[in-house]
Amino acid sequence: MGEIRTEEMLMNIGPQHPSTHGVLRVVVKVDGEIITEADPVVGYLHRGTEKLAEDLQYTQIIPYTDRMDYLSSMVNNHAIVNAVEKAMDLEIPERAEYMRIIVVELNRLVSHLVFLGTYLLDLGAMTPFLYAFADREQVVDFFNRLCGARLTYNYMRVGGVKWDAPEGWLDDVRKFVPYMRSQMDMFHELVTGNEIFLQRVKGIGKFDADTALNYAMSGINLRATGFNWDLRKNKPYSIYDRFDFNVIVGENGDCFDRYMCHMNEILESLKIVEQALEQIPEGPVMGKVPKILRVPAGEYYSAVEGTRGELGVYIVSEGKDKPYRLKFRRPSFVNLQLLPEMLKGQSMANLIAILGAVDIVLGEVDA
């Protein structure tokens, strides 16, 4: 008996699909439930941030970065202010540097918590999502007290930060650290030890370090393959060289390793926050910077370790108060490139598991 001929079906996963995390559209060809071809189509959200930046003064660009990777606005802020400060060779007060580190690492932590929650939601479990969001809420409250926003935090300025921490804020963060550590144990018990979860993620969406490097992947997607690369360690910026923390790497580069990297990075961020709280000196939080910022003519590139990988800022300046051209290297966009290869031959259910583990934010894909 010959093989039964089957017909392939074209399906659009997104842009309104609940698991495409925004407005991604993946056009997939499926044979039954098996994907034979996948093509991510991006551009539905495109806000034109880079183009808009050409008409904005450097300080005015900061709130636009809030909206790129809206789960880690503080990190985005850090990227742009860091780039301008480097280009202008500005001095930052010590206290402001520490405040930046505290908020950036807290932001990394909550972004990872959102990953944890939404990833499990993708896999059909709702409870971890609510637990993760309950914990995230506490950090969101910290940010709310600090800068008045709950999502698009606008706290950093070129030359420092907008305000010092309100009274009791640092103490409350200090109390939060051990609580969050205990919560991580709970998450491991609830999720990591679950046999169904392990069956769904182990060995799925696997790629090696060479492939990741060839596709210019960065962040957890790269580190999960076992490649040790973290800008905070390899090309230290700000005051990261003052802290003792580990770069978390995986072994197999599968969805499970990416999940574990997220989980362990939360603990590392807590470690950094704890040390920053111990070391933070008294003093001003804003340096002396000119009222109108003019970046000397030339080309500058500066990058920070974003939540999802290397977040780079490339400035072409003509020496004016606005950039001639501004380009963001957005890790989510870069990381998404490997998706078609990862999806080929996988089942529909794995599509969601793989896409979720790549951990993209569409605001960053379509900035």
Binding site: P18, S19, G124, Q199, R200, L351
Partner: protein, 334 residues
């Protein structure tokens, strides 16, 4: 009361038919109440497990929330997709619902089994009829003219047919022990000497039963036919308003029916000391329902191939082992 509704061994005259109709309406009203408050129970329970409050606004303690939800569903616009296979699309939810209601005919709610049939093929009737729901689900998925729905429908066909086998085979262990397929007699056999509920001698069978039942009910971790994160709700994506409510209703009636079947087969049905039979039955059914909801709060979703592999390579061999062990046990005891 019991006498009024007792139509067993009586000629089928107008009076008997009328009684049957009244009985059916009473059971339907009862089951609608059960479904309403199962949903409320689910939302409260899972809310508690997820650090939330659950319904607490409509009526005292939110007790009227589900009723408000149902009313809302009933008055919603009846949307039928333009390119759907209209007649099949319209009839599918009913096809899914009817068997779920009909299986209740053989579940003995109490010692007097007022509204239920004293059928000598009760178990077989339940298994056979519950399989009919697959048709409604598959047709609904097919007729929607939606690719997610189609995959959802196909998944549910594969899933329900696969799990029907270990479910039926696990139940055979009980049938063998009791020597009857009559659910009332199965309960009575558990009450008789040595007064041991079948959960003890049939523990392996019970494990297979409870897993298969979870899959049959399409509940977490086997909720693949309506995987909202993969298939945008699956076979019922295009359904809205009261047609969606029918699918939903079928799901929750089955939840009750399957819990009732589990309580009857393995936990002695209505039997228990001090309290009335129906209270014991209700308590046992509630425990089963609690278990299904609890699973929902703790488990992620399994993948289709893993699901099918699990049914054919793990559950079916286990149920065969259970059947053989039961036969040996039965032989040794007699």
């Amino acid at each position: 009361m019991a006498d009024f509704f007792s139509w067993v061994d009586k000629p089928l005259d107008t009076h008997a038919v009328l009684n049957m109709i009244i009985g059916a309406v009473v059971v339907l009203a009862f089951i609608l109440g059960v479904v309403t408050y199962s949903i409320y129970f689910q939302r409260k329970l899972i809310g508690w497990m997820q650090w939330r409050i659950g319904p607490n606004r409509v009526g005292p303690l939110g007790l009227l929330q589900t009723i408000a939800d149902v009313l809302k569903l009933l008055i919603k616009e009846d949307v039928v997709p333009e390119k759907a296979d209209r007649p099949i699309f319209l009839i599918a939810p009913m096809l899914a619902f009817f068997p779920s209601f009909m299986v209740l005919a053989v579940i003995p709610f109490s010692a007097n089994h007022v509204f239920t049939a004293y059928s000598n093929v009760g178990v077989l009737y339940y298994i056979a009829l519950s399989a009919m729901t697959i048709i409604g689900v598959v047709l609904g998925g097919w007729a929607s003219n939606n690719k997610y729905s189609l995959i959802g429908g196909m998944r549910s066909a594969a899933q329900m047919i696969s799990y029907e086998v270990p479910l039926a085979m696990s139940v055979l262990g009980v049938v063998l022990m009791a020597g009857s397929m009559n659910l009332v007699k199965i309960v009575e056999a558990q009450i008789a000497f040595p007064y041991v509920w079948y959960i003890v001698p049939q523990f392996l069978g019970f494990c297979v039963f409870i897993i298969s039942a979870t899959a049959e009910l399409s509940r977490t971790p086997f909720d693949l036919p309506e995987a909202e994160s993969e298939l945008v709700s699956g076979y019922n994506t295009e359904y809205s308003g009261f047609r969606f409510a029918f699918f939903y209703l079928a799901e929750y009636v089955y939840l009750f029916a399957m819990s009732g079947l589990g309580a009857t087969l393995y936990f002695g049905g209505w039997s228990g000391p001090f309290l009335s039979g129906w209270i014991w039955f209700a308590l046992k059914v509630t425990c089963f329902i609690f278990f299904f909801f609890w699973l929902q709060a703790t488990m992620p979703r399994i993948r289709t191939d893993q699901l099918l592999t699990f049914a054919w390579k793990v559950l079916i061999p286990l149920s065969i082992v259970n059947l053989v062990l039961t036969a040996v046990l039965k032989y040794l005891l007699h």
